[in-house]
Amino acid sequence: MAERGMKNFGAIAANPYSWPFDGVWSASDTALLLLGFQSGNIAALSAGPELEAAMELLEEAKKAGLTVVVARRGADPSESAVAARRRLLGDHVPARHSAEWALSDRLELLGDAILVDHGGDNAFFRTGLEDELRQRGVRNLLVTGLPTEGIVHATQRAANDMGFECLAVADACKGTSPLRHSAQLRITTFGNGLFGAVATAADVLAALTTFQE
């Protein structure tokens, strides 16, 4: 087992494989992603329980010293093609600094959390997030957010192409329908985890509080 300067957490009992693939994850090489936990999304999707699960993870992640990333989507005047398309199809994107755009007030972050503003669904797109994570030595990502088949999956797909080892936390994500949520996670795990693995918040919490030498 590789030493990375910090104690490794226990492996997570995930689907379709024990995560991460190489068994190595620690506070120094792992980030928790909190995507789209904005007032408008939480209300529209009635995502109280999912927010609650994500907050429990955040609490433990902060204690353990993981990198924390918070991303929020807002209409970006410079990305006019995206914004125009959104408006035309009625897929609402909140204006920046509006009440619905605001992050949940439950999200109490440490000063060194990475805050990302994006106009589309993928929190990596033209945000500098990849560089920011690499500079910190992050290689593993725990992914939570709203909605599952939108911001969450778009971001996880991009991260996966970049080589990050991703774990979607199923009950800390909610889709625009239960079917879309479960179907998108099924696609995530297809082919021995084409886009990473899936586990529950309890599975992650159990591993976060155990260590392997």
Binding site: F21, R85, D91, G120, G163, G193
Partner: protein, 228 residues
């Protein structure tokens, strides 16, 4: 299937000149959809991915006749595998034959190998753009976005395999780049039908969050209406 809200092939509407449109055919390679290719060697069923060869051939011929830009993609890695992430290789090796390993069609998904080639039925012809991609998205670490910009292409008709994987990634990234994408439902497939159906449902929801979902008959009808 057309999008009722806008009544046409393009969710964002028209008019569109032929110079703005490209047909993209994703990863129709021996390893993914030919007998004896990688997926076939794994013992998985390639009948779904093979079922779209004739429909794609049909739209390819229509695109060539209409003289719109044609783009082919190939998923593959450099022979030294320097562009292959460790987790991607590990996940495929669990199946017994992973990316970079020697199979019956050469080294799996390695550039230049027989299995990596586009199937003969859909071979590119001179003047068509061929994009080599190391990831799932056709935009990830490729020249695709620059090429589209350079050529003034803002509309992408999406076909190929597999719908739940590289096709979905390409649609989503096209959206991020502000490219209007329309997927031809009868020109894409997945290894597992439930994943294909779920992909179509997700992509088609909300009038097409990341692009439209249509079919080859509507594509041909759209081409016939082009005048510019």
């Amino acid at each position: 299937m057309t999008i009722p809200a806008t009544g046409g092939f393009w969710p964002l509407g028209g008019p569109v000149s032929r110079a703005e449109i490209a047909l993209i055919i994703i990863d129709m390679q021996v390893d993914f959809c030919a007998p004896g290719g990688w997926i076939d060697q794994l013992g998985e069923d390639v009948s779904n991915t093979r079922s779209v060869i004739a429909p794609i051939r049909h739209v390819l011929e229509a695109a060539r006749a209409a003289e719109i830009t044609v783009i082919h993609t190939r998923e593959g890695h450099r022979p030294d595998l320097s562009d292959l992430h460790a987790n991607k290789q590990w996940r495929t090796r669990v199946h017994g034959l992973g990316i970079g390993d020697k199979g019956k069609t050469g080294r799996i998904l390695v550039r230049g190998e027989p299995g990596w080639q586009i199937i003969p039925e859909l071979s590119p012809v001179e003047g068509e753009l061929v994009i080599d991609k190391p990831g799932k998205s056709s935009f990830h670490r490729t020249e695709l976005a620059d090429e589209l910009k350079k050529r003034g292409i803002s509309r992408l008709v999406v076909t190929g395999v597999t719908s739940d994987c590289c096709v979905q990634s390409t649609m989503r990234d096209g959206f991020e780049y502000g490219i209007e994408c329309v997927l031809l439902e009868d020109c894409t497939a997945a290894v597992e039908t439930p994943n294909h159906k779920a992909t179509i449902e997700i992509l088609g929801a909300f009038g097409g969050r990341w692009g439209g979902v249509s079919d080859r008959a509507a594509f041909k009808a759209m081409l016939e209406m082009l005048d510019g």
